[in-house]
Symmetry: C2
Subunit: 340 residues, 2 copies
DNA sequence: ATGAAAGCGCTAACAT
DNA sequence: ATGTTAGCGCTTTCAT
């Protein structure tokens, strides 16, 4: 097989099959009536030539692009792959295709990625978070494209939103911790300016503790590096500094897992001496010596619902549609929160 | 701000700024000479209107698309995010943008994804593995687009390839294990029909053992579920079945980590009683009680090199370029392979 | 059931 | 430094 230089066009198929370009186009899109014989001729020709239609030309002519832009901060941290799975599942039958853009939590990059995406005129945009730069918001508003902001619902959407309340999640966890009788509570998480959702959980957490007259005893924040290793080190250091701690709330499961491993090594009894909880309910922590308490962040459902909204806005689904969808995360108690 | 219905066109900007469409186009692309004053007028107009160019039209007219298709089996398993990081880094200064397609290790899906991608006429294709279906190979050959197959170099490339020899990786690990004096060696990994690279490592491993007259004592394969949990369970069960094992080679770090945690719980001395090794060198395993022996799969470098080849083929880089790049993975001995 | 003509919104190539 | 013209490869619309 030799590599061709110039891509084939409809015209090539038309000539090879002796049928007009228009009819070839109809066959390839299953649109309009075409006789079985011409249909066969055309399909033969396309197959033997190895023709691949040019979607750029098609999109320009039809003013429709079967792409859904998905703009997320990162792919590596186990939360977005699941969101993507939900999106893919919902889009699978609609003919729409997700295209991912990564922002690395940088507003500047987000603007660029968004601009780039919008310039392809996608059928919809799914974007993580409610905190976009002014410029980004304006772009989204002006685009005329359905926009679904995901993960978070503590704020006002540009168009539609699907997510959980991270403030409420923080509060709920605080309440569960206090109810279990813990008093000396520590917090450990990512440096927050970057991560609005972690910040909101933290705020809700603090607030719910305050309501019952409890203050956080100690806290520590990190950025970068292996979350597991950080969780280990930081748990060690926070306990050295504040040995009275009887609970640590981690802003994600991975540092929580690191903390768990450290305590396990030290033969500290969990949860009798110290209780632990994380956030996200990632599958990865399933193999730890104890099941870490956590809260399901409903990532799959969020992706699915968001994609359904996009599909529905494009007339590709007739599911009942809400523009604001709040999902309710449940606490998974595991082995590290409830004292017998 | 109200949401607009019809997207703006160059014509709108042209009218708003009193400059021809062509000049507006030149300003927006920094192409050709434009006086500072008209330039300012145009930029003012675009900004105040919130104009976003239509890349579909641009691509059709210029016959150039600044997209690089990246086709990979999965995003969730920690190996591809790093490849993506390498790709992004190399592409950053070139004006090219990666677009990801996921195949879930299914050849059928790979064909579909590839067809979809090719129909957008990207500037290059980076695709994982050397084993594509015949149909996929034909499409790639006919596309006239630079194709870089990545991860693996044990086979013949369609066009270019960047990766490591997984057979050699398996051999090297076998040699290191034997050299450390282990004799009763087990293997544990994913079910292989899916994963050619794991299969090749396994083959190389077996072969190198055979060369020194050693046969694998036991093995176990899995698919699906939490790799950490599987590693735990399977390590328990394989040791129950074959208690004489003194080494287990895992096909990836995550199940290796699970095995490590199980042995650690059982207070089995590592590596005195049992040695362990994984594959990939993922950051995640950095926080375990012991550092698991592993082998760097050079993921970042692979992504970077592959993207550089694409850039170079498009005349966007003048780096010296090889069509076949073999990287050499090194063993990271950690704490679980070398006996004192 | 099939075909012909007219664009979609840009940019290449050639003026000026 | 700026403008004009002619497409890029399809699909829409209107004929037949």
């Amino acid at each position: 097989m030799t590599r061709r230089k110039q891509p084939l066009t409809l015209r090539d198929v038309s000539e090879a099959s002796g049928v007009s370009e228009m009819t070839v186009s109809r066959v390839l899109r299953n649109k309009g009536d075409v006789s079985a014989t011409t249909r066969a001729k055309v399909l033969d020709a396309t197959k033997s030539l190895g023709y691949v239609p040019n979607k750029i030309a098609g999109a320009l002519a039809s003013q429709r692009v079967n792409l859904v832009a998905v703009v997320i901060p990162s792919m590596s941290n186990m939360v977005f792959p699941e969101v993507m799975t939900g999106i893919s599942e919902a889009l699978d039958e609609t003919g729409l295709q997700p295209v991912v853009g990564i922002t690395n939590y940088l507003p500047d990059r987000e603007e660029k990625v968004l601009y780039e995406m919008l310039s392809w005129r996608p059928s919809g945009i799914i974007i993580a978070g409610l905190e976009q730069s002014d410029a980004s918001r304006v772009m989204l508003e002006n685009s005329g494209i359905p926009v679904v902001q995901i993960m978070d619902i503590d704020g006002d959407p540009i168009d539609a939103m699907v997510g959980i309340s991270h403030r409420r999640a923080g509060r709920k966890m605080a309440e569960a911790i206090l109810k279990s009788g813990y008093q000396n509570i520590g917090f450990m998480g990512t440096q927050m300016p970057l991560d609005h959702r972690a910040r909101k959980r933290f705020e809700g957490f603090i607030q719910a503790l305050a309501k019952q007259g409890v203050e956080i005893m100690d806290s520590e924040f990190y950025s970068g590096g292996s979350a597991l290793a950080k969780g280990r080190q930081m748990t060690k250091s926070i306990l050295k500094r504040s040995p009275e701690l009887d609970f640590i709330y981690y802003s994600n499961d991975m540092i929580g897992a690191g903390g768990l491993l450290h305590l396990w090594d030290q033969d500290i009894e969990i949860p009798r001496q110290i209780g632990l909880a994380g956030f996200n309910k990632v599958e990865l922590i399933d193999g730890l010596p104890l099941q870490l308490a956590t809260m399901d962040s409903c990532r799959f459902e969020i992706g699915k619902k968001a994609a359904q909204i996009i599909a529905s806005r494009n007339g590709l689904s007739d599911l009942p549609l809400e523009n604001i969808v709040e999902l309710s995360p449940k606490i998974a108690f595991g082995d590290t929160l409830l004292r017998k």
